[in-house]
Symmetry: C2
Subunit: 389 residues, 2 copies
């Protein structure tokens, strides 16, 4: 049996492949990317389940529309209009099976084999995987401390058939970096001159525990803006609920057709329950708890790195989100260090899979997740890691 | 903006497009394909939710494995081994976001642009949509009263790069037809000589209310067998839970990679809850209730058709499932009759979208769903329909 080119070229997740070694009981793992389960609002969700079932009965269990449950789309529209001064209505929103699906649908409706996608380097692994299924040409643009490198971006925009630019403007995965206000404006100015879609993927935006909230790059300002959101990091990832916001009606129509052909519609039980939860709880208060937790964990890891890491290692200081990105400036390769680290029973993700051409053995970066370990474990893990750097 | 060829060629669902007219309050609709909501086990599901949350807590809300929850895969393996004498284990199963996703994943990992798919004609519209995203060449083979036309199948198997054959052997959508035992054997004998995958999609198989259960065509007998199942018609469709069973490890590995890139994993809350429901309730008894209900509704519709339809209309007599397929043998086109029927406030699905080349205006068939109307409504709707045939 001959399989399709698209699947033979799709990398399976490096992160999932190393799970077996990194999730052994005696290993301290900074390799994951999971929200801290103590942040899940179990009791309030249970109350919402009971109420939604009582109120809507069989509707929670029946087939439903592809676009998604209207009250939930209304909630999202209201929130984004109020909070980010967008002017959207529920018809500008489509609910997806997690925002991973949004990525896959976007590439599906926009990319013919060989068409261009501009992506941050390093970039989100899940996006690289999802996009690869549509067989694009990737044009990676270096992500600097304040956002995309503008010269590289300008050059990439000259390439043939570039359909969209994929960005994670807040607390990016894997680097934890956030675009500056100035860089947002510069990126917008550059893009606005081209017939290209700007995708802003913002799963972590509400998890800002330091600094000021910044406006989106393109959302609310350009028709070819696509904003992706998710309830995975602020309510629950297990219910797989994300959303696409765009004022481009034609694009959204195509995405709806693609979604219908892909899985008919998003889990409707989860849509009703999460809508009920959002409408009956103080989400701001809930998110504040998550932020306090993650800030404490981030501070702990940064403090431990300052204390224990050799000076040749530099790293980002995230203002939110879930990751720190470290760079070794002494010629060591991350894959080499990963092997040594596993001997010391401490795990991280070597930078390699976050680069579109990840075959490069000279990659000297690593992603460290701080949201899933206690302060004591963070301190001990960083100490172990420092001993082999 | 130029969209992808694959989305420009994907038909949006005719059925969903006519929903606005067919779902008006004063319209009797036989157009849908929904399970009867009175068959949803609401109370038992609520009990399972409470129990699963108590037992597993945050695990119901966290990210999880792409392949799916092991106890649920174990349940499926045990059931199919016991009931259908297969010899599968949980590792031969992957859980999907409804069986619609299984269709899309299969085409994704098997089809390069132009590769062949053999499909029943008429065939399941959702499959036509899902497969179209991979830009295949369709080789339709006429579905006769007892299964695929063998001569056409043999010819289609000679075509270049045919990757798989898609069949719905029990109570097919849209026709309600079931492959005979003899035809199953003949199809198997033909296929076994080719390097081609046989997909048996069986969402309705357990809803047999007449006749004897028949063995699968290829499942349990050939390595290149793929069997699809779903909880949509026997527990709940809203939770979007289907599954793929295959002993072909390489194929399943590719599907898992594709699934991961597509939506990471299936809704884990639903997996735990449905697993709990299945392990703690008598599913056979629950299914018997659905079968009794659907048999009564099917009998009512067939009886009304016998009484009211003119003799030039022939129709299938389903032994299970949800649909009757009618053929007008007097030269009328189904689209023409559909318009007249809407004037009489009765709806069905004209046969057109179930043919790969649905542009043909001479299609004289219609799909009638009986699972969502009371006997009185069925009688009245068939009477109205008869008046314009």
């Amino acid at each position: 049996m001959q399989y399709s080119d698209r699947i033979l070229n799709t990398p399976s997740s490096f992160i999932r492949n190393i799970l077996k070694v990194t999730e052994a009981n005696d290993v301290i793992s900074f390799a994951g990317g999971l929200p801290n389960p103590i942040s899940f609002p179990l009791e309030d969700m249970h109350t919402s389940i009971d109420r939604a079932m009582k109120q809507h009965g069989a509707k929670l269990f029946q087939y439903a529309s592809t676009q998604g449950y209207l009250p939930l789309r209304q909630y999202i529209a209201d929130k984004y209009n109020r909070r980010y001064s967008l002017q959207i209505d529920p018809d500008d929103i489509l609910l997806t099976t997690g925002s991973q699906q949004a990525l896959e649908l976007l590439a599906k409706v926009l990319i013919n084999k060989g068409d261009g996608i501009i992506i941050e380097e390093p970039g989100y692994l899940g996006a690289i995987q999802a996009f690869t299924l549509a067989e694009p040409t990737f044009y990676p643009v270096t992500l600097e401390h304040d956002g995309l490198n503008l010269e590289q971006l300008e050059q990439a925009l000259q390439q043939p058939n570039v359909k969209f630019i994929y960005t994670v403007p807040n607390f990016q995965n894997p680097t934890g970096l956030t675009y500056s206000l100035e860089k947002r404006q510069q990126v917008y100015d550059l893009i606005a001159r081209h017939d290209v879609i700007l995708v802003e993927d913002d799963p972590y935006g509400e998890l800002r525990f330091e600094g000021e909230h910044l406006p989106y790059i393109g959302a609310g300002k350009m028709e070819n803006s696509v904003l992706l959101g998710s309830f995975s990091k602020i309510v629950t990832p297990g219910m797989r609920l994300g959303f696409i916001i765009t004022k481009n009606k034609e694009l959204l129509q195509h995405i709806e057709t693609a979604k219908q052909a892909t899985d008919l519609h998003t889990n409707v039980f989860s849509q009703y329950v999460i809508a009920d939860y959002l409408l009956n709880n103080d989400l701001t208060q809930h998110i504040q708890k998550i932020k306090d937790l993650y800030k404490m964990q981030s501070d702990t890891m940064l403090q431990a790195m300052t204390t224990h890491f050799p000076t040749h290692v530099s790293y980002t200081k995230p203002e939110g989100g879930m990751f720190i990105w470290a760079t070794m400036n002494n010629g060591r390769s991350a894959l080499d260090v990963f092997e040594k680290a596993m001997e010391q029973k401490v795990a991280f993700v070597p930078g390699n899979p976050f680069y579109v051409n990840s075959g490069d053995n000279n990659i000297n970066t690593m992603r460290l997740n701080y949201t899933n370990s206690t302060p004591e474990i963070i301190e001990e893990g960083i100490k172990r890691l420092a001993s082999i750097l």
